[in-house]
């Protein structure tokens, strides 16, 4: 699922660099707060373990092909979400800068797709939510498989959206999804099996190795996410097509877009933008307009308002989450400065 630079536009790549950097900073801060220096070498060596364990392949029944461990869920189970995210991010960074696997601009997207979903979505919201110590073996197998499928499918959807938002491909969302999602769901089944197998082995031999941290936010976030998706995906069917209050009052006052955009300030700003803009694709490129263009493209490709609503909600979530992380980091930095 490693994306390459060629599929991305600088805007999308840059945004996800920012998002991933924010998540790394947030996770690093959480790890520092836990103050467990023993985990530092463990994280480093487990990162190398994930690399190395990928060499031990296994045959996939009924297909004749072979698969290997991905490691996202396994790391989250043993290290907890923050350490797992940092470990996955480091594995992807080493893959990019030592083995040229992935790309420099695509690194942010790759960290997000392969690190965020197992560590901050699948592990706290599905594994921790469904996992109980007294669950039967079949229960653990099914939780492991479900969690793996969900994080891989989410990652694949994220790859599709990033590629479509970059605007380099003409493949419609539906076709892209039909190509990507079944493959990743199948990989998820294999990943779930192998993760559960390793889990049982460790539980028998060294059960104290499991991560025992508490996840306070899991249920609350799950409920909020569900409500957001319902609102964006279902309730938007009943939205009114009439103009909103501002549009209505502007139309009553005979103010149109063209009259409001011909002032001297507008002309000056437009000429400065044209002179500074070297990215011909992104002339008139306020990010919102750019996103709107591709979101509407996806919506008109037969997926309708529901998809556009869900995509829009997810984007707002990403932006709000990153902004929140940055503000918290900023505040904590100021607090440390005051204490000194």
């Amino acid at each position: 699922m490693h994306m390459s630079d060629a599929l991305l536009s600088p805007v999308v790549g840059g945004v996800f660099w920012g998002v991933s950097a924010g998540l790394i900073g947030y996770s690093a801060r959480k790890i520092r707060q836990q103050d467990d220096e023993r985990s530092v070498p463990l994280m480093g060596v487990l990162g190398a373990f994930v690399f190395a364990a990928q060499m031990i392949n296994f045959t996939i029944p009924f297909t004749g092909s072979s698969g290997h461990l991905g490691g996202g869920l396994l790391l989250s189970i043993f290290l907890g979400p923050y350490r797992a995210f940092i470990t996955i991010a480091s594995v992807l960074t080493v893959q990019a800068f030592l083995f040229a696997d992935g790309g420099i601009l695509a690194l942010g997207c790759n960290i997000f797709n392969l690190g965020f979903f197992p560590s901050f979505v699948a592990y706290p919201l599905i594994w921790k939510f469904l996992y109980r110590d007294h669950r039967s073996s079949i229960g653990i197998w099914s939780i492991s498989i479900t969690t793996s499928i969900i994080y891989l499918v989410f990652g694949a959807i994220s790859v599709i959206l990033q590629t479509l938002l970059s605007g380099n491909t003409d493949i419609p969302f539906k076709v892209f999804s039909l190509f990507m999602l079944p493959i990743h769901a199948a990989i998820g089944i294999g990943e779930g099996f192998i993760t559960a197998g390793v889990y049982f082995f460790i539980r028998k031999t060294r059960p104290e190795l499991f991560f025992n941290g508490t996840q306070k936010t899991g249920r609350g976030i799950a409920v909020l996410a569900l409500m957001t998706l319902l609102t964006a995906g279902v309730i938007c069917w009943f939205s009114s097509s009439n103009p909103d209050g501002l549009e209505w009052s502007l139309s009553k006052a005979n103010v149109t877009e063209s009259t409001s955009l011909t002032g001297a300030v507008y002309k000056m700003a437009a000429s400065v933008q044209n002179q500074l803009s070297i990215f011909s694709d992104y002339q008139n490129s306020v990010l919102s307009r750019y996103l709107e263009k591709y979101t509407s493209k996806i919506a008109s490709s037969g997926l309708g308002t529901t998809t556009a609503g869900i995509i829009g909600s997810l984007m707002v979530c990403f932006v709000a989450f990153t902004a929140g992380c940055l503000i918290r980091l900023w505040n904590s930095g100021k607090a440390c400065h005051r204490q000194q």
Partner: protein, 242 residues
């Protein structure tokens, strides 16, 4: 693989950090080309070609990029199928919009991968970590990267020997099922954890207190700044005028 091919004729031409910064600018400007601008993208091939010859990088190094190229071809081929608008002709051959845009994806992919391969060959990983440290990347992430790089080869050899032992005991596909792989990976995991505990004890005995002492990276000199500005100016010229 040599640790630094930037050391040309025994003397470093530019620091690894500046090569890394130049590569980032190069990739950003290359990818900002329009999706139908083949000429504008092709011009960018001159820079990695120049670096490749200048730093005498073996052609064999490019083989490492083959898996990445295959994936780019796969994604690019989609455009040929879905965009069949006639845009012109190349002799007797009709050219569609999809052909042009997929060629641009392939060119962008090849050149960005080429530049990345040059970075991986010429810039020592420790240089990238030091640059990250200067850019205020959290220390825990840098430590993670350094430890990962250090133990990668050791654990790869161990995994390879485990795999070889399993293959010796397997008959065809019997013995290579998921269940067996899970047990092997589980025991490999335990060995890894034990190794991490030993490493931690060794680190503590050498005065480790949660943070890794790292030699600061050499500050960028005048020569580095000149090279960065000259290269960035060159890329901007290529981007604007071609």
């Amino acid at each position: 693989m040599p640790s630094s091919a930037v050391n040309w004729n025994g003397k470093p031409e530019v620091s690894g950090s500046s090569v890394f910064i130049i590569s980032c600018i190069y990739i950003l400007l290359l990818l900002s080309n329009s999706r139908f601008d083949i000429g504008g993208c092709l011009v960018f091939g001159a820079y990695p070609l120049f670096l490749h010859i200048r730093w005498r990088i073996p052609v064999n190094e490019l083989r490492r990029g083959i898996p990445g190229i295959l994936l780019i071809f796969l994604f690019a081929s989609g455009n040929i199928v879905f965009d069949r608008n006639y845009t012109g002709a190349l002799g007797p051959l009709p050219v569609t919009g999809g052909m042009v845009s997929s060629s641009v994806i392939v060119i962008k992919g090849l050149f960005s991968l080429w530049m990345l391969l040059i970075v991986t060959y010429t810039v020592p990983f420790i240089e990238i970590c030091k640059l990250m440290r200067r850019l205020k990347v959290p220390e825990v992430f840098i430590m993670q990267l350094l430890l990962l790089e250090r133990y990668l080869i050791v654990l790869k050899q161990e995994a390879l020997s485990l795999k070889r032992a399993r293959d010796c005991r397997s008959f065809g596909k019997k013995g290579q099922q998921i269940k067996v792989a899970a047990l092997i990976i589980g025991s490999f995991f335990l060995r890894t954890v034990e190794r991490a505990e030993r490493i931690h004890r060794a680190m503590v005995s050498r005065g480790f207190n949660g943070s890794l002492k790292m030699e600061p990276s050499m500050p960028l000199g005048t020569k580095d700044f000149l090279v960065i500005f000259f290269s960035a100016g060159l890329f901007l010229t290529m981007r604007v005028f071609f």
